[in-house]
């Protein structure tokens, strides 16, 4: 249709036509260039780092003086902190979301609660870091630990999970809910058997988003879990210092003194990007396929 309008007025309004064409060209150029540029940067990271990866690097201990250090403990910490933080934030966030979507009466107080959730979601991550320091280092005096990092990270994730759950459950068609009630289901049964399964797609997408964010989060971890690791693999202690891969990338790039810091940073960045992409693709792909099949 747009093509039609173009040709119809082309002869009469030459300037307008030219401007239109110019605009189209600019939009195409900017759109394509920007997206290619950003994707190119990511590709560059992956291409610089991935080919050089080896098992030794992924599994190895970080070194501070000699070349050849690995990222084993930091990679492990990344997942460990991520899992603990999700274990804390998923149940809390989901039940808060279910409350807002299902139980909450529609009054000013609940409106206020919603603003709180949104407000919390927009709080800069470094504030959660400061909060974590105040709680774990100043009050409980446990120092910089995996536990402190994970809990602070969970707080960071909580509001996002709450909102995602609320929205996903609200999006469930009311016919489904009514059908469940009509069959004699209680509210809890309805939520468990109908609402959550139907909303699962949205919730998992939300968890993915949060997991990716938590995996790459650095400011919170630097403040609450430190920039060092306990220096050994598979250290499950909750009270070890817990630098994650993202922190290690920053540390290696700007502070470390190993001669091969640049190479380690390249590889660490590639692993970081790769894992984040993997989390997103792995979790979403089955869901996407599933949606296609059921349609």
């Amino acid at each position: 249709m747009s093509a039609e309008s173009k040709s119809a007025f082309a002869s009469r309004k030459g300037w307008s036509h030219k401007r239109n064409q110019l605009f189209t060209m600019i939009v195409w150029a900017v759109g394509i260039c920007t997206i290619l540029f950003i994707c190119g940067l990511l590709f560059l990271i992956l291409q610089k780092g991935l080919p050089k990866l080896s098992l030794d690097f992924l599994y190895g201990l970080p070194s501070e003086i000699d070349p050849g250090g690995g990222i084993g403990p930091t990679l492990f910490n990344s997942f460990y902190v991520l899992i603990i933080s999700l274990l804390i934030s998923i149940p809390l966030g989901m039940s808060a979301g279910i409350y807002l979507a299902e139980f909450a009466p529609d009054n000013t107080f609940i409106g206020f609660v919603r603003i709180c959730v949104e407000g919390l979601a927009s709080v800069p991550s470094i504030i959660f870091g400061l909060f974590g320091i105040a709680i774990f280092v100043e009050v409980f005096q446990v120092g910089l630990t995996i536990l402190g990092g994970a809990v602070s990270l969970a707080f960071l994730n909580l509001p996002v999970l709450t909102r995602v759950t609320e929205e996903a459950i609200r999006a469930v068609p009311s016919e489904m809910k009514n059908a469940s009630f009509a069959l004699g289901g209680t509210h809890l049964q309805t939520i468990r058997r109908v609402l959550i399964p139907v909303a699962l797609n949205g919730i998992i997408t939300g968890i993915c988003l949060v997991a990716g964010r938590a995996f790459g989060e650095s400011a919170v971890i630097i403040l609450t879990a430190g920039v060092s690791t306990s220096g050994e693999m598979w250290d499950f202690s909750l009270f070890s210092p817990g630098a994650t891969l993202a922190v290690h990338l920053w540390y290696v790039q700007s502070e470390a003194i190993v001669p091969d810091a640049a190479e380690i940073a390249d590889k660490a960045a590639a692993v970081l990007v790769f894992v984040v992409l993997l989390i997103n693709v792995l979790f979403r792909l089955p869901l996407l396929l599933h949606v296609r099949r059921t349609r």
Binding site: E64, I65, I83, I84, L87, V137, E138, Q141, G143, L144, R193, I196, P197, L200, G226, V227, S228, T229, S230, G231, E232, D235, F236, S237, L238, F239, S240, P241, Q253, S254, E255, A256, I257, P259, A261
Partner: protein, 286 residues
């Protein structure tokens, strides 16, 4: 089907995590006195890490984790209870200019740290006098050609306040002259590693760092015609050096004590410590 799968995974994950959590909590409690956390001076970090590696080989049950962010962080973390040992480039149990004494902390002398004024590889100047250094770091000398280099603006890289290297460099290389604090070609960095990266990657940059960090991408300058070598320091000709200390809360005990004793031992002082371009405490006469 799907919910069941989801539930099962969730349950498994939960169970595994709970198991791990309880196990690790228990093990942390039983090994508590076998864990050393070290923070503080980044100038001492290479030494600390090397010592930690060797110490761990001898005492496999002791866990040591070390990191660095600047000298004042060391005694500060010890006071906060974040760290057991705070590495510091000055004796933090006494008042020094700019820093109050940390009460109740014991200073354990571990090494002599030589500091060097360093420049980016591209800089031509090789020797600076105290006067010239003062001029550069206070912002009065702005171009390398004024001190025998090419016609290029000098980029000054300074350590942020709280650094022991900064305190010592100011006292001993600049005779107490104040640093500049603003300017187009002025940058502050947080740690020695940061300084190393900045000097390596910034053309025409000058900064200062302890000798162990000097790589082949930067050059250490002679100060008043003396190179920063062990011989020159012991003979007193090169004056920019300081003792490095491990600060502890009260007298060290247990694993911490054993570790500090290991660092002070002849074996380590004359072995790895020397290899890292530090100087054994026993070499100094005063």
């Amino acid at each position: 089907m799907k919910t069941k799968w989801f539930k099962h995974t969730l349950l498994t994950v939960l169970a595994v995590a709970v198991a791990f959590g309880s196990v690790s909590a228990a093990s942390a409690a039983s090994k508590l006195n076998g864990k050393i956390v070290i923070n503080g001076s980044s100038a001492l970090l290479p030494l600390t890490l090397q010592a930690a590696n060797e110490f761990k080989k001898k005492n496999p049950k002791v866990k040591i984790s070390a990191s660095a962010a600047g000298s004042v962080t060391g005694p500060q973390s010890v006071r906060k209870g974040i760290a057991d040992i705070g590495a510091c480039d000055w004796d933090a149990s006494l008042d020094v200019p700019g820093f109050k004494a940390f009460d109740g902390q014991v200073a354990n002398k571990v090494a002599v740290i030589p500091f060097a004024a360093v420049v980016n590889k591209g800089v031509k100047a090789t020797n600076l006098t105290t006067k010239q250094l003062q001029g550069i770091f206070s912002g009065k000398i702005k171009n390398w050609k004024e001190v025998g280099g090419d016609d290029a603006e000098i980029v000054v890289v300074n350590r942020a306040f709280g650094s022991g290297t900064r305190v010592n460099f100011q006292m001993k290389a600049l005779d107490g002259t104040n640093f500049m604090s603003k300017g187009d070609n002025y940058k502050e960095v947080k740690s020695s590693g940061d300084m190393k990266t900045a000097i390596e990657t910034t053309p025409n940059a000058i900064g200062y760092i302890d000798l162990v960090y000097v790589t082949d991408k930067m050059r250490a300058l002679n100060i008043n015609s003396y190179a920063p070598t062990e011989a020159n320091i012991i003979s007193g000709k090169y004056t920019v050096w300081a003792y490095g200390y491990y600060m502890t809360k009260g007298k060290p005990t247990g694993a911490v004590k054993a570790f500090i004793e290991y660092v002070q031992s002849k074996e380590f002082q004359n072995g790895s410590l020397k290899k890292l371009k530090f100087i054994p405490i026993s070499a100094m006469k005063n």
